[in-house]
């Protein structure tokens, strides 16, 4: 497959996943700020900016940190390249460039999403309207992923689409966990009060795993179990383990005789979550562990770009 075409498909999938992740983070944030004292509230409001590494850009444009300003900046701002509308624009532009190499259903899904976003009235994306919008973004991402899975030929286009989706998702899960842990700063055995409970629940909901937690542990919400679920539990489809399973599988299917460094790193990341123990991770520092993972995922992205997709 042409490197350019593979690159477009890979980025198209990453951007849709990124839009979904952003919608998840914002959705939880807008619920969380209803609780807690002002210091914690501020931490919660800051979290989305820390997760996306865009705090500095935010404060260049906004003085007040509020849910409205966050939505404006992270969902609707066309000058913020990681905003939801930019991700959707960019995904559609990539799809347009390869619309004859993807299925017509994929193209129509992204194009219809884009058309709706273009017709959007920002004034209506506040309060309950904001939540409706964020839910809609999640739905469009689910639809796109399902349409892709259900229509595309199992070949390089499929492989690079999967690679983009799951690398982006792993990146997002690691960031959310890292930042939330930092906000809550629990000790390993910390059980916490009602407020903490609410926060952990919110974190689980942001990655659609509250029900999974209940099913698997049937117990109080303990920070260490949350980490176990989000990092090592491969039955949970947004965990690092599940994402790295998919990344490794896609890598295995990619037909590349040349540069093997990307495949090697994908295997290393996979091994890291397969043969791991959550107690040990905590002993050595969760933040350090997640930072290492994020650095290596970033490096994996660069190697994929170099080995298969050509220079950007």
């Amino acid at each position: 497959m042409l490197a350019r075409v593979a690159g477009r498909i890979y980025w198209m999938s990453r951007q849709m996943e990124r839009a979904e992740s952003m919608a998840r983070i914002l959705g939880v944030t807008s619920n969380l700020v209803l609780f807690g004292e002002s210091d914690l509230q501020r931490q919660n409001l800051l979290a989305p900016l820390v997760i996306t590494g865009s705090a500095e850009a935010f404060f260049e444009r906004h003085e007040e940190l509020s849910v409205e300003a966050l939505i404006e900046f992270l969902a609707l701002d066309r000058d913020n390249p990681s905003s939801i509308v930019c991700c959707l624009d960019w995904a559609r532009e990539n799809a347009h460039a390869v619309r004859w190499q993807i299925t017509s259903e994929m193209w129509e899904t992204l194009n219809a999403t884009w058309l709706e976003v273009r017709a959007l009235d920002p004034k209506r994306i506040t309060g309950a309207g904001a939540n409706r919008f964020l839910d809609w973004v999640k739905e469009r991402s689910h639809l796109f992923r399902g349409v892709t899975y259900g229509t595309i030929m199992r070949g390089e286009a499929f492989n690079f689409s999967r690679l983009g989706t799951f690398l982006e998702r792993a990146d997002n899960t690691a960031r959310i966990l890292d930042v939330k842990y930092h906000v809550l700063l629990p000790s390993v055995d910390d059980v916490g009060g009602a407020l903490d409970y609410y926060h952990w629940t919110a974190l689980l909901r942001s990655v659609s795993s509250f029900e999974t937690y209940r099913l698997l542990y049937r117990d109080q919400i303990l920070p260490i179990r949350v980490a176990q679920l989000l990092i090592l539990e491969r039955r949970m489809p947004r965990s690092l383990a599940a994402c790295f399973d998919q990344v490794k599988e896609a890598m295995d299917r990619i037909n590349g005789q040349g540069d093997q460094s990307a495949k090697r790193l994908a295997y290393e990341l996979h091994a890291r979550v397969t043969h791991a123990d959550i107690e040990e991770i905590f002993k050595n520092g969760l933040h350090e562990y997640l930072t290492d993972c994020l650095t290596d995922m970033d490096e994996l992205g660069s190697r994929i770009q170099r080995a298969y997709l050509g220079a950007v």
Partner: protein, 468 residues
């Protein structure tokens, strides 16, 4: 003389080859046909058979109107047309080979040397280069019109990157889908094998030592007006649709960047103009070309379809000489006549053109797509005077022809059926031999009385049937 009606003879009787269709039209309730037309519109929109119009709002995509009444050509007439097309394209390819080699036609004085050698499309880099099968124009679209006398005339030759064949194929698919019963009534010759013939033609153009040539289609990109066709043909042939940035030159060959590493490319069906092919050889500002491509081409390690410099043969100032080329190279009389043409660079022709401007069609010699032309009878006095000044300023840039009244074919207009003017563009493929599929693309001017069939100027298309 009355305008030639494709369906009815002068006494109003339906011509034999149109009888089956006419009977079906008479039998079918108007609502049913109207419903089918709406269905066709929807389908075309969904499939995305659109084209971009230059100068329109950026990225604007329009649907080319599709008319559901086919144009029918009897088999006997097509056989004669096909012979004429084969003859004409063969002579044009012989001409191109000659002017880049022995230049016998120039030495014989059949065509003035300056007409060829000072032509902007004449490319010195091609001199002495040997091409497989001596083919320069692998895909030719020859525009034909039928005059009042019932005869076909060649209006122009398109030897470089003629477009429209995707509409020919999609129109047929649409007709079979909407009106399957029509195809049961009579045997319509198939056109669906065109992509296979095209691929065969392109593979035949490969450097001779290559056993299993890799073919690609080179497009300027999604913003080009014919991008749909590029993507469509690549998909139908099962070849990669590449942009300039996908290809690079290394160690004397052309390669494409794939996820599995560089892959060698042997044949490039390029849908970009000579000037943009290689920034090292031609326009340095081209961002859609491949640096070094021309040097690989000259060494014979990659084939281009069409060849560089083929445009000198389809220039409108060369057109008047094509009948002479046929006589010179093939020792045959032309089967398909030219439209009489006056060359404004000749003082006596210029005088005549100026006198009769209001009756004539005037075209720029390098123009295409219906841009930059004057249709005398339809022009306002102001437009006539403006064009007169343009011709005076640069006579060599213009040719003039009598206004041909193109034949008409019944066409849906609003809720009625009315005659509208049509032309015909068959696609002629030259590989080891000359081949074509029966028929071609029929373009129709949807405005009453209009003679401009170009899609960029509001023309539509029809399915074209060759029937026994």
């Amino acid at each position: 003389m009355a305008v030639y009606d494709e369906m009815r003879s002068e006494d109003g009787a339906v011509r034999p080859h149109f009888r089956s269709l006419a009977a079906w039209l008479a039998d079918t309730p108007a609502e049913r046909v109207a419903e089918k037309r709406r269905e066709a519109d929807l389908l075309f929109h969904r499939v995305g058979i659109t084209f971009a119009v230059y100068g329109d709002e950026e990225g604007a995509e329009r649907l080319i109107p599709f008319d559901t009444i086919p144009r029918v050509i009897p088999q006997g007439e097509w056989i004669e047309l096909a012979r004429g097309l084969q003859q004409r394209v063969s002579a044009l390819n012989r001409f191109l080979h000659d002017i880049y080699h022995g230049q016998e036609i120039l030495r014989a004085g059949v065509i003035p040397a300056e007409q060829v050698l000072t032509n902007a499309a004449y490319e010195v880099a091609m001199v002495g280069l040997e091409l497989p099968n001596h083919v320069y124009s692998h895909i030719a679209g020859i525009d034909l019109v039928r005059h009042d006398d019932g005869k076909y005339y060649v209006l122009e030759d398109n030897l470089r990157t003629p477009s429209g064949v995707s509409y020919m194929l999609e129109n047929r698919k649409m007709m079979m889908r909407l009106f399957p019963e029509l195809f049961g009534r009579q045997s319509v010759q198939p056109v669906e094998h065109y992509p296979a013939l095209l691929l065969e033609t392109l593979r035949a153009a490969a450097p001779p030592k290559v056993r299993d040539p890799v073919v690609v289609l080179l497009t300027p990109g999604p913003h080009n007006s014919a991008y749909f066709e590029h993507a469509f043909l690549a998909q139908q042939m099962g070849v990669e649709l590449v942009e300039g940035g996908d290809l690079f030159v290394k160690e004397g060959f052309v390669w494409m960047r794939t996820t599995g590493g560089p892959q060698r490319v042997d044949v490039i069906y390029r849908r970009i103009d000579d000037a943009y092919l290689d920034p090292l050889a031609f326009r340095g500002d081209s961002v859609i070309g491949i640096p070094g491509l021309v040097s690989v081409y000259r060494s014979g390690n990659v084939a281009l379809a069409s060849a560089i410099g083929a445009g000198v043969a389809d220039d409108k100032s060369t057109y008047p000489y094509v009948p002479e080329m046929i006589r010179f190279y093939l020792s045959e009389e032309p089967i398909l006549p030219n439209v009489p043409t006056w060359q404004c660079k000749r003082p006596e022709d210029l005088e005549l053109v100026m006198d009769r401007l209001a009756e004539l069609v005037v075209k720029e010699v390098q123009g295409s797509g219906g841009y930059g032309m004057l249709i005398g009878p339809a022009a306002t006095p102001g437009a006539l005077e403006e064009f007169r000044a343009r011709i005076q300023a640069d006579p060599a840039n213009y040719i003039a022809q009598p206004t041909l009244s193109l034949s008409t074919c019944p066409t849906f207009v609003g809720h009625d059926i009315a005659p509208r003017h049509v032309d015909l563009r068959p696609f002629v493929l030259s590989g080891r031999e000359v081949k074509m599929v029966p028929g071609g693309l029929t373009r129709v001017a949807l405005e009453a009385g209009s003679l401009v069939v170009n899609s960029s100027q509001g023309g539509g298309t029809k399915d074209t049937w060759v029937v026994d």
